[in-house]
């Protein structure tokens, strides 16, 4: 397929090379920042454009991988291309953003944490797809299956809940890692001593439901240890997070 990638951020910079490797012809990479478009276009053998009016109108598929905030205006700026399939990659954005602009549209949402320059195994990344009609959904399904072994059809409402779940399980989790990093740093200890525990915690829930895997002072209602920890924390936000999450664990354990 002839594909145009609109965007050059964390998601686009993983999806575009994978589609290229799968044998698709990535004809253009669009980014308002010319250097960003050029960097990614060099990897995928594409033309880089930074003016949406120069978009190649002969592609069969347009993939919109831009920040949620600008997605509506980018969709609005595109010419109507009724023969092509238009897919956005955003977890929390409605499929109907395309309504009134395009005729065949849908969603191709890879649920993963993407950082530029960090390798990600797309094959095992679940892709959630949606299409505004059966034919479009089939196209999205085929495309996703070339990238991943795990492709699931999900409605916009389900995708919102998935994205919220991902914020808890990935973004918030990473922030707790960062707080742990700061706490160890202040105590003169290297962060990497925590990696085996972090890995074991993630691994454990492959075989045990997370509620059953819960350990620690809050799970065993050990008030003395919790009070000692809160007293030993010097950062107010860390104290608040410690209290709120411990209360929540205690409630869940009841």
């Amino acid at each position: 397929m002839k594909i145009v990638i609109i965007g050059s951020g964390n998601v686009a910079s993983h999806i575009a090379p994978a589609l290229h490797r799968a044998g698709h012809n990535i004809v253009q990479i669009f980014s308002p920042t010319p250097e960003h478009a050029q960097t990614l276009a060099a990897v995928t053998g594409s033309d880089a454009i930074s003016d949406i009016r120069n978009i190649d109108t002969t592609a069969q598929c347009y993939i919109y991988s831009v920040l949620d905030d600008v997605l509506p205006s980018v969709i609005g700026a595109m010419p109507a291309l009724p023969n092509a399939v238009h897919l956005h990659t955003a977890g929390s954005m409605d499929i109907n953003l395309f309504e009134g602009y395009q005729q065949r549209y849908g969603v191709l949402y890879p649920m993963q944490t993407f950082s530029k320059n960090v390798e990600v195994d797309l094959c095992t990344t679940p892709f959630f797809i949606e299409g505004n009609d059966q034919q479009t959904q089939d196209t999205a399904l085929q495309l996703a299956r070339q990238l991943s072994h795990r492709v699931i059809c999900a409605t916009t409402a389900q995708r919102t809940q998935l994205h919220i779940g991902a914020v808890f399980a990935s973004n918030f989790t990473n922030h707790l890692y960062a707080m742990c990093h700061d706490i160890l740093d202040a105590a003169g200890l290297p962060f990497d001593v925590m990696l085996p525990l972090i890995d074991a915690t993630a691994k454990k829930i492959h075989t045990l439901e997370p509620h059953k895997a819960q350990t620690g002072p809050a799970a065993r209602h050990d008030k003395k240890v919790m009070e000692k920890h809160i007293a030993a924390l010097t950062n107010d936000t860390q104290k608040k997070i410690y209290k709120l999450l411990s209360d929540s664990i205690e409630q869940s354990a009841e």
Copy 2:
């Protein structure tokens, strides 16, 4: 060495078999609940006792692996055995709990999440040790090195900060996994779709400092998505946690 294990909980049930495999003679397992002592004693070829007065006083090492709450009373109930080394395994408990009761004492703290019946790789688990004199510290060091490749001397104050860090990076993280589980469950989605993302999030910080690995709506100050997510959550505690952690991420990103 002749070793007595005092306790039969999550930590004891991993440490005792490992010491047994390393060639030590685990002479007794103590637990106030006879069945618990018997179950573990069967694995390590030991005698099970449930009355502390029946403790074998001829061992060279006593390992106290009981809940923090009961540790002081267990230490108080033990006879004075000045020739033996006495070690507790608690992250948040002071080495000086043994003061006035024993002469040679210290700490052997494996920083890991232990659940009964879940295998743990002790070899890669960091052990933090402390001794009240050089000779005792050396004994603790030797013992720990037979169980793990990573043994670090740490003071009681450092150990408290390590334990707090572990609560953030493991116990709280697991609770976020549990919340994610509940959110997906309510949306009719299986939790296992989240495992690749959870694994990638843990893996990423092996090569990237957690502050730099932060992604998601809060890290990019995407107010619209955050408001949408908070509105879509039906559980008040989840709303509070979403707000507090997002605010904290936004502050860190400044």
